[in-house]
């Protein structure tokens, strides 16, 4: 090969590809780190979904059924008839661009197909082509595209780059819910066997054992006892966790990551310390051992099925109402789907706090109360004693987790709690919190490690705001109320804002909680000294 001159060698093509958005080709091989592994055949098979097989997005042949176009067309038609919202979302968009720059993935990646309007257009163009008169007559001139294998591959790439966080929907003047568009696109892909394993494995596990991790009842009990014994060893506080107790007043539902993965475990122990102190008559269920519902990222039928187990257990155990832990999308399912799918939960009572007498009217339909509502009510009614100074080593900010914020509207309660358990609390900039909050970029099944580059791209806006409060106020802890956040924010912070740790809200509640007869606290739940040790001073 002829040797190249230095001038030739520095001729580097700096341009990202400029091309028409209608060109669907995606090179999966060169984009490793930005997509998730496909669902394993065993999980597809277990759930009875279509087309179980082992395959990879880098394969030329995705082993689709021969009539895959017809299957998707029929599936699309069925859903347009079934969900009026889908037809409205397909027809209504005027491409005003209000949503275009609101997606964390677009802001971080600079890829126009991450603009919510354009991502939706990937589906909408097929709708136009197949289901509108203009599209049928004019095709591409009316913004229609034919559904080819390349288009389907593009769907797989981009609809698994949406975390269904619904930030874009906040800005849409027509109220188009882009997360719903993504959900529909994912449902259609499921019909021909396209889904990712980080979603399908938790779904299959959840159907089999009641939680995403596939933990069986005896291990569930074991894990929880272990965490309680750890607490007893480190703090001298003895907790006897309650599991599967019939006739308890309250069924407590948690995300499985809280009893199986750090830093959620500290929050989990925090819940139980609070319950011990106030003497709550509660039980957990070894069968409804998961708050999360990955059906939300799979299909409406699966949402319904996985949600039902909570109510089934509530009935079996004969509780009066349900208390839910710091979980994210569980609350979207509860608030926006549960009552339609599995309601009415008329065998339960409208939740009433046994400590304060407060009736949670807002939970009249689902009979399920968020633990932040419950704890905020305890604090407001002075039912618990708190020593804020035990959290003095932390300078805390609060990340509004997408679903509790935008689907449930839970803005004030966690802040009220944090301000009562910490002396140092700082807000991130206004356009990055509350309903404007930026996603962790790992929700909706995308929080897997093979997708790390995409997660970090999408994590930039949150990381950037976090870095701002770290630099301005010395923030060293970001608290949140979502198990996926607690799993996905630590890498985000490490890359974009190093030096900031992640916690749940009830970890900080438990640090500050003054319990009857407790030994003097010297360390927090992480086993770290309550106060920063000053150099040069020693105990004598």
């Amino acid at each position: 090969m002829a040797e190249k001159s230095p001038q030739e060698l520095i001729q580097i093509d700096l341009d990202p590809p400029r091309r028409d958005w209608r060109n669907p080709s995606v090179d999966f091989e060169s984009r490793r780190g930005t997509w998730s592994y496909p669902a394993a055949a065993k999980n597809i098979e277990y759930m009875g979904y279509a087309n179980p097989r082992e395959w990879s997005p880098t394969d030329d042949d995705w082993q689709l059924p021969d009539n895959w176009q017809q299957i998707i067309h029929e599936g699309f038609k069925e859903r347009l008839a079934k969900y009026r919202s889908l037809r409205v979302f397909m027809d209504t968009c005027v491409r005003c661009g209000a949503c275009a720059d609101k997606c964390h993935f677009f802001i971080g990646s600079g890829d126009p197909k991450n603009m919510p309007v354009l991502r939706s257009e990937l589906l909408r163009s097929i709708y136009r082509n197949d289901f509108t008169l203009a599209g049928k007559l004019l095709g591409g001139f009316a913004g229609g595209r034919k559904l080819t294998k390349e288009v389907l591959k593009e769907w797989f790439y981009y609809f698994f780059q949406c975390t269904e966080c619904r930030r874009c929907s906040v800005y849409c003047p027509y109220g188009i819910d882009t997360a719903d568009v993504t959900m529909m696109a994912r449902e259609l892909m499921m019909l021909v066997g396209l889904n990712i394993n980080w979603i399908c494995e938790p779904v299959a596990n959840c159907q089999r054992t009641g939680n995403h991790l596939g933990i069986q009842p005896h291990t569930f009990k074991d894990n929880i006892e272990f965490l309680c014994e750890e607490l007893e060893d480190s703090h001298g506080i003895k907790i006897e966790p309650v599991i599967n107790k019939k006739g308890a007043e309250v069924l407590f539902i948690i995300p499985s990551a809280d009893y199986f993965a750090d830093p959620g475990t500290y929050t989990f122990v925090g819940y139980l310390m609070l319950f011990k102190q106030i003497g709550l008559d509660y039980t957990m269920s070894a069968y409804a051992s998961e708050g999360g519902n990955f059906g939300l990222f799979t299909s409406h039928d699966t949402i319904k099925k996985l949600n039902y187990k909570i109510y089934h257990e509530a009935k079996r155990l004969g509780v009066k109402w349900i208390l839910g832990g710091e979980c994210g999308h569980m609350w979207r399912v509860m608030h926006q789907y549960m009552d339609t799918m599995n309601g009415p939960a008329d065998f339960l009572e409208v939740p009433r706090s046994p400590l304060t007498g407060t009736v949670f009217e807002n939970a009249r339909a689902t009979k399920m109360v968020h633990i932040c509502e419950f704890t905020a009510d305890l604090i407001r009614n002075k039912k618990i004693k708190l020593d804020k100074s035990r959290n003095d080593k932390y300078r805390v900010t609060f990340h509004d987790s997408c679903n509790p914020a935008r689907a449930l509207g839970l803005f004030e309660e966690p802040r009220y709690i944090l301000k009562n358990v910490c002396n140092h609390f700082y807000e991130m900039p206004e356009n990055t919190i509350r309903e404007h909050t930026f996603c962790c970029a790992g929700g909706a099944g995308l929080g897997n490690d093979e997708n790390m580059e995409m997660r970090l791209r999408g994590g930039l806006p949150r990381g950037n705001a976090l870095k701002h409060v770290r630099d301005a106020h010395g923030v060293n802890l970001m608290s949140c109320i979502c198990a996926i956040d607690r799993a996905t924010l630590p890498p985000l912070a490490e890359y974009w804002s190093p030096g900031v740790e992640i916690s749940g809200v009830h970890e900080l509640v438990a640090n500050a909680l003054v319990m009857d007869g407790e030994p003097e606290r010297t360390v927090n739940l992480r086993g770290e000294p309550l106060k920063e040790e000053k150099e040069g001073t020693t105990d004598v």
Binding site: I10, I12, D13, L14, D15, P16, R18, R31, G33, T34, A100, D101, F106, I107, G108, S109, G110, D111, P112, M115, L118, D222, N223, F226, E229, E230, F260, A261, D262, T265, P429, N431, T432, D449, M452, E453, L456, R457, L460, P461, N464, A465, H468, A487, P490, P491, E494, Y495, W496
Partner: protein, 171 residues
């Protein structure tokens, strides 16, 4: 040695470098990077607007390229995760050479060649920053699994062993 450029030319150089960088993004993205002024709504555009000028000044002043490259950390950190080949991710530094030629073509040869050499050293230092970012991404990926679940598993297993009377003791 400080290379002298008039204030106008220095500003023009910064602006041309910025234009060349944002001009490489797709048209829709370029418009957004230029027009959205809020630093929290547009962190990439903001980093480019804020971080390029000090680097240009530093190069003219003859400051250490390693220090200057760390001033480009925000820009490079983003490019390390964006959809770019490594050459393009750090190649934006070379754009500064071309921008300089366009702005300061009439400067004496000695000034032009000194500036170009400094840009080349900056390019190498930028590649170090880029490599650190990439290594960090891979380390984060590996450690995530360990931190998230394996630590708890290890503690849990020790607890189970202790409960069962302790692990088999090595001879």
């Amino acid at each position: 040695m400080t290379l002298m450029l008039s204030k106008n030319r220095r500003d023009e150089l910064v602006s041309l470098w910025y234009d060349r960088i944002v001009g490489r993004y797709p048209a829709e993205t370029e418009r957004f990077l230029r027009e959205q002024a809020d630093p929290f709504a547009n962190p990439v555009g903001c980093a480019l607007r804020e971080d390029l000028a000090p680097v240009v000044d530093g190069l003219l002043d003859g400051r250490d390229p390693v220090d200057l490259a760390s001033g480009l950390d925000r820009v490079i950190r983003v490019r390390a995760v964006q959809d770019m080949r490594p050459s393009a991710a750090v190649g934006f530094v070379l754009e500064l050479k071309e921008a300089f030629e366009a702005v300061a073509g009439e400067e004496p040869e000695a000034v032009r060649s000194a500036f170009c050499q400094r840009v080349e050293r900056l390019l190498l230092a930028a590649f170090d920053v880029y490599s650190q970012c990439r290594e960090q991404i891979f380390a984060i990926r590996v450690n995530e699994i360990r931190n998230r679940s394996l630590k708890v598993m290890e503690r849990l297993n020790s607890w189970r062993e202790a409960r069962a009377g302790g692990p088999a003791v090595d001879a």
